[in-house]
Amino acid sequence: MKKILNQPADFVPEMLEGLLKAHPTQLAHAGDDLHCIVRADAPVQGKVALVTGGGSGHLPVFLGYVGKGMLDGCAVGDVFASPSAEQMLAVTQRIHGGRGVVYIYGNYGGDVMNFDMAAEMASFEEIEVRTVLVKDDVASAPPAEAGRRRGVAGMIFAFKCAGAKADQGGTLDEVVAAAEKALAHTRTMGVALSPCTVPRAGKPTFTIGEGEMEIGMGIHGEPGIKREPLQSADEITERMVLSILEDLQPAAGSRVAVMVNGLGATPPEELYIIYRRVHQLLAAREIRVHRAYVGEYATSMEMAGASITLMGVDDELAAWLDHPAQTPFFVQVA
């Protein structure tokens, strides 16, 4: 384990302390719990508020998207562990601007159970909460069982579109619909080349042999479709893009947004080599790229690997995507 840390148990609180000190004009915390991250200007009165949450170890996911044009708050768990229902409730109370709250987060058991508990508690306080689950990882279950799929990098497109709609004054129903519309057109698939280590566990959760890769691995090291010999960038990219296209079925002449996401240790150079092939494969099918995001958007600490996300866009989704946003990890100007 080659990590820069102090006591493993302090990993998350110290990370949060550093983060709040680094971005004091943008972020604050609710109550006295650093795990309850909110926009510094929360609550934004008259705006539908968006809340996410989940385990640590995925920066910029989740809290990195709290800011103007995206999310209002985030409950932060320990590494790869859900935050508690109480923490979610504390965030919810702090960011509620009077027009309801949308929970958008990845489909993981612990998170679902806690957000469900939090939503029950919030309803006691007359805060209307709606839930949108992100289930974009095509490798995690076949289409017939899409409800079992994991939520991975595609959640950023949901944050972006729902965040834009909320920023434009949308109602609770409209913001939920924006998130659901984005997700209905979003699919992701990833490949992992090396494992990662939960600081408190002290050793990697799993191993991947020197010449191997795992196609379809999840962002906590959940197993994928197949462990196989490491292939070339073009071959890996084809595998991922073809699986996504089969599931998404975009029409020739249509447009997509593309995200090529690094899992942590894979350098941006390699992500652009992947993007090159994605672009070629789409061009061959007469699919145009509305916007490309290449970088680290949803990571697994120091895992090597990458994921590809495609979102089919119409004019409405494209406009939400193009809407400005400003968070500590994501800045987009009009």
């Binding site: 320990d78 508690s84 993981y108 058991g109 612990g110 806690n114 279950a141 939960v198």
Partner: protein, 209 residues
């Protein structure tokens, strides 16, 4: 079946469970690394610590039901993975079932376990046979209830519950996990012990002292 557990006995039992969860961190982590994300030992060790602190700092004040519910809140605060949340739910719902009681008779403990079982099923939405903690919890709660109804002592009923939990755990070991993180591991879960079932067995064993 006549002895009633008093405040001190219940508090001591919760503290014992807490200590054992800390002691089993490595073993549970190893199990969860085989078919999950490797956090179960860490989560339960944090919860174990929190439960011990809770026992040390929170007097029962005549209502064991409320006290157990508060223990559930403390557990959720300390660790909120799937299993951690289900454990919190079990304490919250079980506590509600024995609200107002200053001591717990065998029937109370049976009601606690039945409510915990129902709460975990409701919160987690798993079916029996999905290979989760409920495959150990449900038979354990049923065995405990049956033993109490048969007039067995709390200790005897506890042994029956432990045996049922172990049998339940073992019965699903050959199966494939159908829910939660382990479901993504698919056929590679076959033949491996469900970490949540094992954690329940660990807790019951500690409970019996």
């Amino acid at each position: 079946m006549n002895a009633r557990l008093d405040e001190a006995a219940v508090a001591a039992a919760v503290a014992r469970i807490g200590a054992e969860l800390v002691a089993q961190e490595a073993a549970l982590t190893a199990l969860d690394q085989q078919m999950g994300d490797g956090d179960l030992g860490i989560t339960l060790s944090k919860i174990g610590l929190a439960l011990q602190e809770f026992v040390a700092s929170t007097p029962v004040e005549g209502d064991l039901g409320k006290w157990l519910g508060k223990a559930g809140m403390a557990a959720n605060r300390a660790g909120s993975s799937s299993f951690g949340t289900l454990l919190a739910t079990a304490l919250l719902r079980g506590g509600k079932a024995v609200a107002g009681k200053a001591t717990l008779a065998g029937e109370d403990l049976a009601a606690f376990l039945a409510a915990a079982d129902a709460g975990v099923q409701e919160r987690g939405k798993a079916q029996l046979g999905d290979k989760t903690v409920i495959d150990a919890l449900h038979p354990a709660a049923a065995a405990f209830g049956a033993a109490v109804a048969d007039g067995k002592s709390v200790a005897e009923a506890g042994q029956a519950a432990l045996a049922a939990a172990q049998a339940g755990r073992d019965s699903v070991t050959p199966l494939r996990s159908k829910i939660g993180r382990a479901s993504w591991v698919g056929e590679r879960t076959e033949g491996k012990v469900d970490p949540g079932c094992e954690a329940l067995v660990v807790m019951l064993r500690a409970l019996l002292g």
